[in-house]
Symmetry: C2
Subunit: 437 residues, 2 copies
């Protein structure tokens, strides 16, 4: 694994992943509706030779007072960003619970044409009733139901992408536009979806957009094992990362796939300084902007209980074990792990969660952060990272300008793009039509 | 009406609206998946000071042998095209039958931000069972059901666009991101849709994307009267245009709205030549590329019966009256009208239908075509046209370079854009939050 190419995504979110990032005097909060802002960030990540930019997504407005949540819709934003860049991959979250597979497969295939083969799909099942209630459902379907639906959704999307062969467009001006024998409709009539036609987009440059997945629950890990071509993981520290990495790679092998081709990329929050002290001061300054009330509300959504009256300087009250928790498992397991390892006060826990909600945070000089990154990647914890800049654009600039050059000098990160598609950046083969997922 | 500004959309479709356009030796058939092709066309239309480019849409692959149908998905294509242009409007068809209103309202609002206020939505109810069967429905809902659903869909979309006030984003770094009292969730629970939240996109530059509609049936005309801000019409000749125009303007007034603000824009196919003979030769050359078998199949979809064994040089057999026809009314009425006025053979009817499926065709010198355009617009037939270039890029180039200058010299067409948004091009006010549709 040590000799392998590291992989980095730039996970763009609001003014940065720290929930107080927008409160800084210099924050770009006025520009979250400006496509130029995202185009510039994608350009920075491309300058840093990242594999991709990465967007989360959600379907409710959240608490409009607390801070920015969503603004531009990711698929429309990625199209513009595709035209402002030429090499970097572009990954969007698309929910398998709120779309039809035909819509999702079609828009992603269209973007793969527009970007000349740089699109990835982070498939999620969504989680909040407030989102369900914007799309006609009284409440979210149960966990198992969502994952059953997601598996069928992915299966249908893959077959839609394969419904035109690569050589279907014959463009014979005296004869056929496409060879009808090479356009093969699905006849899918499953528990969740009816799709009885071929896609209305010819096969795209990558054949199929790259499939990212981020499940942490049993069902999520099994879905990743079956389908994911890259995995966005959550791990608070190296032991947690190693446990997840070993488990999910084992499941991929058990599903009959080659685990070496599936990059596991934990989320990573970084604060970089010329000295350790400077980096720590940057982190502390940002934490100090955090209104406690909002952080307690955020914690409440993570653990799905009201903690608005918790005493800030008291130890965190005991939480139910993961087996009794019905919300998203990954972050909850991280919170339990932070509590177990750090025995924090409520205030300390809020600080850890404020940026990235419990993902790993690395704070230090460029060399120290590069050391940690290499350690994770040589000791079975990661194949790269989904970088979650706490402060935009600063934290992304710093990582590209100061950490990437260290990793390039030391060897594990590319000094130029070897290929033009996201599949090529990730070392993934272009799938043949009809190949098993 | 004579003194009013004419309006033009450039309706982009494949290699042009003539169904044999792709068969020309010089056709751009190899480039229908290249976003640069559409960006260049949008640039041409912007050079011609058109109000907007316009995309149709559909959800099935059609007959892949016969010719190009869909390739890029319009909303993703328009985002890139928004970044390649700066003033021209960008209108996409979005089906009210296959989306949820939250998705549609969200993507269109996002595009309105990305384009700085240049997005329009052509709302359709879709028509083919093959489309329904890609989105989980066994067959298309009935006509009345589709229009009931569309009215509720539009109503919900308008209210979602109004769910953030224009001044909701206070961006107070020491306080609120958005003023919670200015973000007002819908609580809509109707026959077709549940939407129980606010949009997750702050209000967009135009307040609401511009609503286009194209219904020709009773229900379609009534929907247009209630909601449309511009209308894409089908009229084979001036009397048909005048009848439609008078009827729909009367209905708009009856719905309590000002008919002068709603531009009626019939589809228009043009062949331009230095002489009439040259223009006619261009048209005949294109018609000659038409494989008869494909044209008969196309006619069969228009009239919803098998006419593959019709005798080409015999008169068109009698067709059922419009009242007995259950498919899309506008084109069917046009076919009946062509038969009544022209008494054509089957071969002649195929020629008229091959470009634009029975929309008006004007063939002649730039001055002759400008005469016809002015006549339609000064005699109560149109407020402008949805130009359907039969051959791309040629027919659009010719119109922009040769017809537009004549209309500019004579007065009824702009010589520069007066505003920056599609609403401004169309002379439409920016709607206040909560204003009646």
């Amino acid at each position: 694994m040590a000799a392998r190419q590291l992989h980095f995504n730039a996970f763009l979110f609001g003014c940065g992943h720290h929930s107080a990032a927008w409160r800084r005097p210099q924050s770009p909060i006025e520009h979250l509706g400006d496509i130029e802002f995202y185009e510039r960030l994608a350009g920075t990540a491309e300058r840093g030779l990242f594999d991709a930019v990465f967007f989360a997504d959600g379907h409710s407005a959240g608490d409009p007072g607390a801070g920015p949540l969503w603004h531009l819709e990711p698929l429309t934003a990625l199209s513009a960003m595709a035209r402002a860049t030429s090499r970097i991959g572009l990954v969007s979250t698309v929910s398998a619970t709120f779309h039809t597979p035909f819509h999702a497969a079609r828009m992603l295939a269209s973007l793969d044409h527009i970007s000349a083969g740089r699109i990835g799909w982070n498939v999620v099942t969504s989680m909040f009733d407030a989102e369900a209630r914007n799309h006609g459902l009284a409440a979210m379907p149960g966990h198992q139901e969502r994952y059953d639906r997601a598996a069928e959704f992915i299966d249908v999307a893959l077959r839609l992408w394969d419904s035109w062969t690569d050589d279907a467009l014959v463009l014979d001006r005296q004869g056929y536009y496409a060879d009808p024998s090479r356009v093969r409709p699905l006849h899918h009539d499953g528990p969740h979806f009816l799709v009885d036609g071929s896609l209305n987009v010819p096969r795209s440059p990558q054949g199929r957009p790259v499939l990212f997945q981020a499940g942490a629950s049993e069902q999520g890990r099994d879905l990743a094992a079956r389908y994911a071509e890259a995995i966005y993981a959550v791990a608070y520290d190296l032991p947690a990362a190693q446990a997840y990495y070993a488990d999910v790679k084992r499941r991929i092998a058990a599903a009959g796939r080659n685990p070496d081709t599936v990059a596991v990329m934990p989320g990573l929050v970084t604060y970089i300084g010329t000295t350790t002290a400077e980096a720590k001061a940057k982190q502390a300054e940002t934490d100090a902007l955090l209104p406690t009330e909002h952080s307690l509300a955020q914690l409440g959504t993570f653990i799905q209980q009201d903690c608005s009256d918790w005493e800030l300087d008291a130890p965190v009250p005991p939480l139910p074990p993961a087996s009794e928790f019905t919300g998203p498992q990954g972050r909850y397991a991280t919170i339990l792990r932070i509590i177990e390892v750090e025995r924090p006060t409520v205030r300390q826990l809020l600080g850890w969660l404020a940026a990235g909600g419990g993902h790993c945070t690395m704070t230090g000089t460029p060399e120290q952060v590069a050391d940690q990154i290499e350690l994770w990647c040589t000791s079975g914890g990661a194949d790269g990272f989904n970088l979650m800049p706490p402060l935009l654009p600063d934290s992304l600039d710093e990582f590209v300008d100061r950490v990437i050059p260290v990793l390039q000098r030391r060897g594990p990160f590319r000094t130029s793009y070897a290929g033009g598609t996201l599949r090529e950046h990730l070392g993934l083969d272009r799938p043949a039509v009809g190949a098993l997922a």
